[in-house]
Assembly symmetry: C2
Homo-oligomer: 634 residues x 2
Amino acid sequence: MIKKYTSGRPINTQAVVEQFDSISIKELPFKNKIDNGKFIFEFDMSEDDIVYGLGEAPRGINKRGWVYESFCSDDPFHTETKSSLYAAHNFIMLYGSNTFGIFIDFPAKIRWDIGYTSSNKTVVAIDGTDFDIYFIDNGTPIEIVKEFRKAIGTSYIPPFWAFGYQQSRWSYHNAAAVDAVIDGYNKADIPLDSVYLDIDYMQCYKDFTVDEEKFPDFKKYVEEKRRQGIHLIPIIDAGVKKEDGYSVYEEGRDNGYFCKTEDGSDFEGGVWPGIVGFPDFLREDVREWFGSKYKVLTDCGIDGFWNDMNEPAIFYSEKGLENALNKAVDMKGKNLDLSKFFELKDTFLGLSNNAEDYSSIYHTIDGRQVCHDKVHNIYGANMTKAAGEYFEKEFGKGKILMFSRASYIGAHRSSGIWFGDNHSWWSHILLNLKMLPSANMCGFLYCGADLGGFNENATRDLVLRFLALGVFTPLMRNHAALGTRNQECYNFENCEDFKDIVQVRYRLIPYLYRIFCKASEENDMIFRPLSFDYPDDKIARECETQLMLGDECMICPVYEQNVNGQYVYLPEDMTFVKLSGTNVSTEEMKKGVHYIDVRLNEVPLFIKQGKQIELCSPALRTSFLNAEDCIMIP
Amino acid sequence: MIKKYTSGRPINTQAVVEQFDSISIKELPFKNKIDNGKFIFEFDMSEDDIVYGLGEAPRGINKRGWVYESFCSDDPFHTETKSSLYAAHNFIMLYGSNTFGIFIDFPAKIRWDIGYTSSNKTVVAIDGTDFDIYFIDNGTPIEIVKEFRKAIGTSYIPPFWAFGYQQSRWSYHNAAAVDAVIDGYNKADIPLDSVYLDIDYMQCYKDFTVDEEKFPDFKKYVEEKRRQGIHLIPIIDAGVKKEDGYSVYEEGRDNGYFCKTEDGSDFEGGVWPGIVGFPDFLREDVREWFGSKYKVLTDCGIDGFWNDMNEPAIFYSEKGLENALNKAVDMKGKNLDLSKFFELKDTFLGLSNNAEDYSSIYHTIDGRQVCHDKVHNIYGANMTKAAGEYFEKEFGKGKILMFSRASYIGAHRSSGIWFGDNHSWWSHILLNLKMLPSANMCGFLYCGADLGGFNENATRDLVLRFLALGVFTPLMRNHAALGTRNQECYNFENCEDFKDIVQVRYRLIPYLYRIFCKASEENDMIFRPLSFDYPDDKIARECETQLMLGDECMICPVYEQNVNGQYVYLPEDMTFVKLSGTNVSTEEMKKGVHYIDVRLNEVPLFIKQGKQIELCSPALRTSFLNAEDCIMIP
């Protein structure tokens, strides 16, 4: 049962598609107050209550014991003490002595103190007084999630081939580099469906351009790759390079499509192309315009995109840089002083994604100038909506692969997400796992992390173990940053082990695609915390290293280096399946604690009693898979 | 059996105290070459071989699958992909199909590629050709460690009270702040033996001064605290503030005691006090001079110190800052360009601990000018030696508590170490655990991490779980950084839980002190990997979440948030002991995998069959402990 409490005059984020009558915020069943322009409410928690939610966010599946902030952030250091990642997914659910869900539909900052300041209290501070709160109770956790998901609308389903294995890097900067990747995979006989084009495929990082020196006849090249069964997925950034003669910029400028400063001039920030204008995606006409620009690439046969830098990320503003330089000039020749030194260093460090810069950006909503601070969290979602609306109109539902870095609930109807610029850290295997059920609760089904880790150097075993989790994530993409070690499977020793793991993915695709579509249709989750299925099992309730998958399975990836095994907890008797390339071994296992052997080329999977899943033969491309050719296991 | 292979003319680091005949490096039983001035050797590893060692270093107990660098580094972000921490402990041990230890006595950089580039190969690159390699074989891992430890001499034993619980923060900046801490602990009835003075107790961060406004009659104050059973532990930094009229600086300058630049002038770098001179601790006369300065504080009754910033940390040099400012001035008014922006930002970021600055520092060794690059890793160790030599001469062995941030093997004879500026991250509980056996192998017995985490905000449960490991570490110190949440036990809700944990420590002190002294006398380890005791047990061999403690125990801390339990593996039948304040519960447990319940106020401990340990009654100070009043458990 959903109740909608309205305060003030909320901005329409289009997150919710069902209609609900508004109840006055005064009726909200939580202790609350308005303090310094913020609406603050709180609720108590019993000692063993769990708090789920927040989608793409740091830390555990259980969000207790930390303070989070809804604020789409371009911050690549996903350490434990961060409060935000790239998304703002304002749904939480208390599960325990009392069970209910809360969605706060509000596009600016929200601070969630979930047992941080006081262990048994959640205090939520909304940075304003214009918002809707949806309160959902009377149900089990999965019932509450389904009711919420119904309210926010059906989740995006990508094309079938998007379930294939995907290889990315910043950057495969020309056709020869892309060919080398495809060749490397072909020679190693490792399946592959997509290769990504990061920012260097463009002319000087200009959206909707292709550098002709790097890709001489792009359309022909794309078609040639398609004949090889490979999809090329170019990146699109939020900022449009300021350059006379560049038509996208000129159209944006001449039509007033870019975000403004207070005085009505275009806001200008520095990103990859240098100075850019930021399209005001909150306007329908701007979305229509920007969305139609993707045609340049779809006309070349491109059928997949990733939208990036749309938090929006801003390396610097002209004003910020000028201030920093002035400070430096001021200090020149003066006596050194430690506090001045740190002040200067911090000024340069603080140039990127600077709060003052964000505050100086203005959008136009229904003819009104609205400060960016009030709508920050829906900027990226609306960029993706621009593309999604165009694709659906032009090609119909689910024909184009689309996923985004920044997101807000609602964007799940038109795209997937990836979890941003993670690191080649073992701990990020578990972080990836932990975000899966949280993202599912918020509607995002097509998602995944950069397998092997984006930043810094990966090791062979890390990539293998990361991929062995990625086998189950709808988006299975290996991605790495400029300057890091080559991370493509064929670049490591004994790449047969990689072949085994990626082949397991292809064998599972019919099953994974089936449960994905079912979850979308039924507003269900693909990945669930164990507690959803075993509410009375103490160990299952606190387990954050395993997940339930569909109605049939439990997964348990290995997430430590230099081990050949892994602890696992079985909440009931299950069949332990070890998958590896063309091999399948099964073993009945009793409820309880076990230590299982898992070699680097193996994927562990547990199947519930009385359940079976289909497994097909591996193939080099999703298009070669034969779903008729499945065996059932166990 | 130890063999010493000598190449060139090694600098005498005084790491090894036993005499060995030199064998020509040509006889070294490893494939080797000299490449670009580096001596590089390698050995193969079987798939299941383990590599132990490197003391204070990132990542696992098993060092396989990463590349490390011996280079004392002031870097507070102890993430998985770092290659160095504050120490350079050049001992590794291969354990498996072949078992041997290697100590490289060399004070400059060494790169250890332990199965990173090639999974089954270790490649060690020594940044020079003047070094000794000690090769130790023919023994079990513990025999090899003991033989190595005998060669490097007996480990430092601190005063008994240094086993008490210690509270630190950057900073308790005056007497009232210190009193408030003691008062807080007294009122909460939580044991405490020491309170730390971080940099703010000094006059403008000047070594061997006390700010009289903050501590009006320091000697009287120290005596008063001692009557309350509390030891005050001041910090000493490596750099000496450049200030006319400051006697320590003037003596250093006038006697030529500071490190030089190439032209013979004093090298000047910016640290906490602003511009400082760095004493050339590699000279015996400078050590004697600097060591004798501690008298200012020991005369006030101080009997414990921590040496900091001695990697050495350098925030900036005048030259580096000038270059950065010039770059900024140059850019002013010019057109923006992304690469220029990043260049400038990176210049400011790179000012601290800058390689060019290090290269411009010169030491005097036997009358020769030696570039800092050649001796970087023994700088901090010699600072600590300066103090240790003075204390031993003046007070005798083990009377003064002394530990250091930077270290090199050899310093273990005169001091302990702490593991530097960690974070309030759950993952740092395990990092702490993993460094304990590694540090022990290298002679460092008195050691520990900043419990609760130094940087960023801690949560109540994190501090409790961190302390529950710290109960077993010889140095049990809670420490937190400026600007972070208060981390003293009494500042959290229900501090009875903290009382339980700290009381467990005091009950264990007679046992811990006994095994500590025994380990020092017998060149033994206090903490061992499980594989040392159970070499044929596959699960034990790869376990990195538990440690053997003394001859009697196994420890297994809880290291995750929001859990009431923990997986544990018993390599044999053991007694599971749960300790909590004045309570003890015991349970016989069978060999195998278990999930144990451990509440926030409990410390889990496993005792081997047929073994017992002594447990005394808790007390508020170590001086109140009655070792006669012990019970034996189980």
